[in-house]
């Protein structure tokens, strides 16, 4: 416990805070400029909501292409969530309880998308939809399929972690009390899994809204432009802060889904502890 050992590492502390500032302040400035009253993205001219809804032509609310990008991103995120969450939850349940060679093969197949770079997956999906699955046109339906493909594995990983921590005791107890496998699944396992499933759904929604590469490879024309695609194409060309407003709304969406996941997770966990406590179980 010499004085030298206890000395506060000022240099490292300063370095770390400088890094944090470097990583976040530019984004805060970009958010600030979304409220700029002038047309500039570099010179501050007073605050207003002009680029959100005030401007009759170029604001997010009034420019049809910006509005379309926003609705496309939200619908894509929502539909991806609705398809990927049940598919992933079922796969997690199956892979955890089912043993055998086929199960192991399916497990490896599920893990591969997590280690595949986006450009490789995007290229592969683009080629398969333009050469083989020509019944599905490139555009919004192909984008939905692509998003489900990369986000299903997130659901499996999250739900499976919860399944393993729950163990099989509750299910066995329900079966001993006369429930069928399906009944045990519906009345015992699924309610216990609910918080993890919800958190996974929120992460899927955020990941889908966040995706640029897969969406972009599978987008053909203006009808399937999402917010990230709009940001990409507009950064160097679009001269107004409406783009910053669009980016700010995207940020708001991600933060909201994160907070929602956290709140519901906490709430459900508390309710569950209460219910189990009534049954005399104290430790989940």
């Amino acid at each position: 416990m010499s004085a030298g050992r206890r000395r506060r590492p000022w240099a490292l502390a300063t370095f770390t805070w400088l890094y944090v500032a470097w990583s976040l302040v530019p984004v805060l400035i970009a958010v600030q400029f979304s409220f700029n009253d002038g047309r500039s993205r570099t010179t501050w001219q007073g605050a207003s909501f002009r680029w959100y809804w005030g401007d009759p032509f170029a604001s997010v609310a009034n420019d049809p292409s910006l509005r379309l990008a926003l609705t496309n991103s939200l619908t894509l995120g929502l539909f991806t969530l609705l398809v990927a969450t049940p598919l992933g939850t079922a796969l997690a349940l199956g892979l955890t309880r089912w043993r055998g060679r086929a199960s192991r093969a399916s497990n490896s197949l599920m893990l591969l998308p997590l280690a595949t770079p986006e450009i490789v997956l995007g290229s592969a999906l683009f080629i398969v939809f333009s050469e083989l699955y020509t019944v599905v046109p490139l555009g919004r339906s192909a984008q939905l399929i692509g998003h489900v493909t990369f986000s299903m594995s997130y659901v499996v990983v999250i739900v499976r972690a919860r399944l393993l921590s729950i163990g099989s005791e509750y299910e066995t107890a329900a079966r001993d009390l006369g429930a069928s496998r399906t009944q045990a699944l519906r009345t015992v396992l699924l309610p216990l899994l609910a918080p993890a499933v919800f958190a996974a759904a929120m992460i899927v929604f955020a990941a889908s809204m966040d995706d640029f590469v897969v969406s972009s490879f599978l987008s053909t024309d203006a009808s399937s432009v999402t917010v990230p695609i709009k940001l990409y194409s507009g950064v160097r060309t679009s001269p107004t802060p409406a783009l910053n407003a669009l980016a700010t709304l995207l940020l708001l969406g991600s933060v909201l889904s994160a907070v929602l996941a956290w709140l519901v997770l906490r709430r459900l966990r508390r309710d569950q502890t209460d219910q189990l406590a009534q049954l005399g179980v104290t430790d989940v």
């Binding site: 050992r5 590492p9 490292l12 770390t16 890094y19 944090v20 470097w22 990583s23 976040l24 530019p26 984004v27 400035i29 970009a30 400029f33 993205r41 570099t42 598919l87 079922a90 796969l91 349940l93 199956g94 892979l95 089912w98 197949l109 280690a115 770079p117 986006e118 450009i119 490789v120 290229s123 999906l125 683009f126 080629i127 050469e131 083989l132 399929i145 489900v148 493909t149 069928s180 496998r181 399906t182 699944l185 955020a206 809204m209 966040d210 640029f212 490879f217 917010v227 990230p228 940001l231 990409y232 950064v235 160097r236 783009l243 910053n244 980016a247 995207l250 940020l251 991600s254 933060v255």
Partner: protein, 298 residues
């Protein structure tokens, strides 16, 4: 009776939809890449003709792409990709290691706050973070204004017109959050008593870092590098956003160009295969190292 017969089939049945989905929309697409890369070109329209039977595969596209990558016009693109990604990784280590180390071991009561701030960029869209920098680096942006207020710079610096330094720093900026977090997790798990013991034995703070902390965080460094290298090698959007100039083109840009902007999809598909092979070598190295580390630990 129904219970016994239905039971064992429930779990495979639950796995079926997801597995079928992954076969149809993950495995088959990769086969389609091979079918195009090893396929033919329509002599009239120059459009690609996929060949689905592996016995009839042609290797013209792949050999052409390989030849151009090793000694032709694509060679500078590959060299540039390696140089940029290597430099960006070096920056990630130089910036990310001290930050992860400080937050994991020395931050004290600020630790929770710092951890939240370090995780915050994960929730901010990558393109938004790039957009923020493009605004700052404009000729009349804040960066140039600050620089011009100093006596050393009189003209605004052209950051966004094909400047390789901008591309490397932008790559590092983009992927640092994903580098820091796995490294933080490893440094956080190091047993503080080991470090104390080492210092009590008299090798000092610096010696302890070199002989104890750094070797113990090797696996975290490897994981963090793998997590950032995989996307960086295929990145094309960072480059387009902060440079857009042919003088900084990387492999990802060429894949995007050949697949989406030309009819020569065969070359694009062959480049995807070459990039995938390269990344698989990287992943294999990572997996072998990880296995060796866990064997040594056991």
């Amino acid at each position: 009776m129904s219970r016994a017969s239905r039971g064992p089939r429930l779990w495979p049945a639950l796995s079926l939809p997801g597995t079928v989905w992954l076969i149809a929309f993950f495995a088959v697409p990769f086969y389609a890449v091979a079918a195009i890369a090893f396929g033919l070109t329509d002599p009239l329209f120059r459009s690609p003709i996929p060949v689905w039977n592996p016995l009839q595969w042609q290797f013209d596209h792949l050999l052409g792409a390989l030849q151009r990558s090793l000694s032709g016009d694509l060679r500078p693109v590959f060299v540039r990709t390696f140089v940029y990604v290597g430099a960006a990784l070096a920056l990630c280590i130089a910036i990310g290691y001290p930050v992860a180390y400080y937050v994991a071991r020395l931050a004290g009561r600020r630790r929770g706050l710092l951890l939240a701030l370090i995780l915050a960029p994960w929730w901010i869209n990558y393109l938004t973070r790039m957009l923020a920098w493009v605004n700052l680096l404009q000729p009349d942006g804040y960066v140039n204004r600050v620089l011009q207020s100093t006596p050393f710079v009189s003209q605004p610096v052209d950051w966004l017109g094909g400047n390789p330094y901008t591309v490397v720093v932008a790559l590092a900026y983009g992927y640092l959050p994903f580098f820091i977090v796995p490294l933080f997790a490893t440094l956080d798990r190091i047993d503080g008593r080991l470090l104390e013991a080492s210092r009590d034995l008299g090798i000092g703070t610096v010696g302890t870092f070199w002989h104890v902390t750094l070797p113990l965080s090797r696996q975290g460094l490897l994981t963090a590098s793998a997590i950032t290298l995989l996307p960086m090698f295929g990145d094309y959007y960072t480059n387009t956003l902060v440079s857009g100039s042919p003088s900084t083109t990387m492999v990802g840009n060429q894949i995007e160009f050949y697949l989406l902007q030309t009819q020569q999809k065969g070359i694009g598909a062959a480049l995807v295969l070459i990039l995938s092979a390269l990344l698989m070598v990287l992943m294999a190295y990572y997996l072998v190292q990880t296995q060796r580390a866990s064997r040594e630990a056991a």
